[in-house]
Amino acid sequence: MAILKIKGLKKSFGGLMAVAGVDLEVQDGRIQCVIGPNGAGKTTLFNLISGFYSCDEGEILFKGQNITGLPPQKIVRMGMGRSFQVTNIFPKLTVFENIQSTILYSKGKGLNLFSNLKGLEKEKTEDILSMVGLDQKAGEMAGVLPAGDRKRLEFGIVLATKPDLMLLDEPTCGMSRVETTDTIDLIQQIAEKQSLTVLFTEHKMDVVFSISSFITVMNFGAIIAAGETDEIRANEKVQKIYFGEG
């Protein structure tokens, strides 16, 4: 069953057609990837799906419900979490508070004006921190963490929203080889443990082929190929984009 279904999605900025009639389906429980060169429209597509941008045309169905035009916070509450290409956390809160605040909000406790914050949702927060490997850094200020840890924290925040679908925009962007491998392992573990569906964009082909079960290729805002890993590897159009005419 498709958890996410996109039909004829279009978005242009002035004269530039950033997303040109994209159709896409993401099957429940899958780790699926959208690849493409710089400027292919991957991030714009994510921004449209997550409600950051409104589309010009088309329809987005999430868990069977039409979410086209809904604001991001509503989409998050329906079960779609998102990480960004440039890590997006609360830098001047501690690692613990980053997760705790998200859990409190998700549980509808954000408007509680008088309860003492200390110890609230401690167990759940610690669970998520240990899941993303940050349990030893709970008290540290989030903004001073190394890049890899900041990305882990962002995954933790997304997990704390209790998503069914995680959108990860270039999760290994700017990471060293070691950090990249760790991050990929982490994404796989999380998806498996939490039975999550993951849709991510990526540049690094080794990353893509190592964890994706289904790949969609974009170029100039349109989808040029979609299929299983081996199909995409063998696709001539994809080879041309990534390896030149040769």
Partner: protein
């Protein structure tokens, strides 16, 4: 009880005892003026701390908070003067009027993106309130202001400020306790998180505008209480308390004391009231002195006097630990 928490309570108890004993300490050889000054500092401290809920915790640069201070002061004074309302009722109703104004102004302001536009719209609303107080002579007494606000003798007498000091001390301590609870509650954490990164807050599902509006209304309510206490202290008010410079002063208090600390703005208020009192007794160039002080603070101590003190203290304890 944990060690850190115990130390905080101890400091709180010491500060509380000091404030309770202050009139008796001042009574020996000091004039009533200093008691008036102490009361004024407390009132301004409450105003600055209320404002900090919006700027320091919520990251919203309101440039119109004088409106809530003034609406609190005017509502209480007009109720006492025009309808001879019982003092308890006037004091209780006025902050709600300020909160209602906070809701209206906040409703339109919190939706606006960008610090500059937010500051501008709040300033515009506050100036509107100022013009109303200034021009609507039949209701507000215009630029004459409201003179001779009747205050019962059990609260204040002409001879001494002692009663009023304790009256305002109790109210202010309760207000500070409530503000303290709020900033340490889940709501306080939500506020800090959206100050830090509104985009991420949106993508955890938070309806940012709602949280900002609630913070705005709470802040307006407590600013209204500060306004009430100011009116009863001075027993006269003028439209000046709604003017934009009053909104600017509360920002300066936060800058002076340190906006990242709960008590920072209170420290800033104390410094400003004392500097004003000291400097104006020697020179009429108060504004210039304040300007120079602020330039120095912003250039050399951007975290304010409180922030600097905490930083130095932490460095000292670390050295001691090593």
């Amino acid at each position: 009880m944990k060690k850190g928490s115990g130390a905080k309570w101890l400091w709180g108890a010491v500060a509380g005892l000091f404030l309770m004993a202050l009139p008796f300490l001042l009574g020996k050889g000091f004039s009533e003026y200093y008691l008036y000054l102490a009361t004024k500092i407390m009132v301004w401290a409450l105003y600055a701390m209320s404002f900090n809920m919006v700027l320091g915790y919520g990251g919203m640069m309101s440039f119109g908070h004088a409106a809530f201070f003034g609406i609190g002061a005017y509502t209480c004074s007009l109720l006492l003067i025009k309808v001879s309302c019982p003092i308890a009722l006037a004091v209780a109703v006025a902050p709600f009027a300020a909160a209602a104004a906070g809701f209206i102004i906040g409703y339109f302001s919190v939706r606006i993106k960008g610090v500059f536009y937010f500051a501008t719209i709040t300033l515009a609303f506050a100036q509107l309130a100022y013009i109303l107080a200034f021009k609507w002579r039949s209701f507000t007494f215009g630029d004459d202001g409201i003179q001779g606000i009747p205050v019962p003798a059990w609260i204040s007498t002409d001879e001494t400020y002692v009663n009023y000091y304790f009256f305002s001390l109790i109210i202010i301590l309760v207000c500070i306790y409530v503000l303290w609870k709020i900033v340490r509650s889940p709501f306080g954490l939500m506020l800090k998180s959206l100050r830090e990164n509104p985009e991420r807050a949106t993508f955890v599902g938070m309806k940012v505008e709602n949280y900002r509006l609630i913070a705005f209304v709470i802040s307006a309510f407590f600013s209204g209480i500060a306004g009430v206490l100011y009116a009863l202290l001075e027993t006269s008010i003028a439209p000046d308390i709604l003017f934009w410079s009053m909104s600017g002063e509360v920002i300066l208090m936060g800058l002076l004391g340190g906006m990242n600390l709960f008590f920072g703005p209170a420290l800033g208020a104390a410094i400003m009231v004392l500097l004003n009192s000291f400097i104006t007794s020697y020179t009429e160039y108060w504004g210039m002195t304040l300007g120079i002080t602020l330039i120095l603070i912003v250039l050399f101590f951007p975290k304010g006097v409180g922030g600097l003190t905490v930083e130095k203290y932490q460095a000292w304890t670390q050295r001691k630990g090593n």
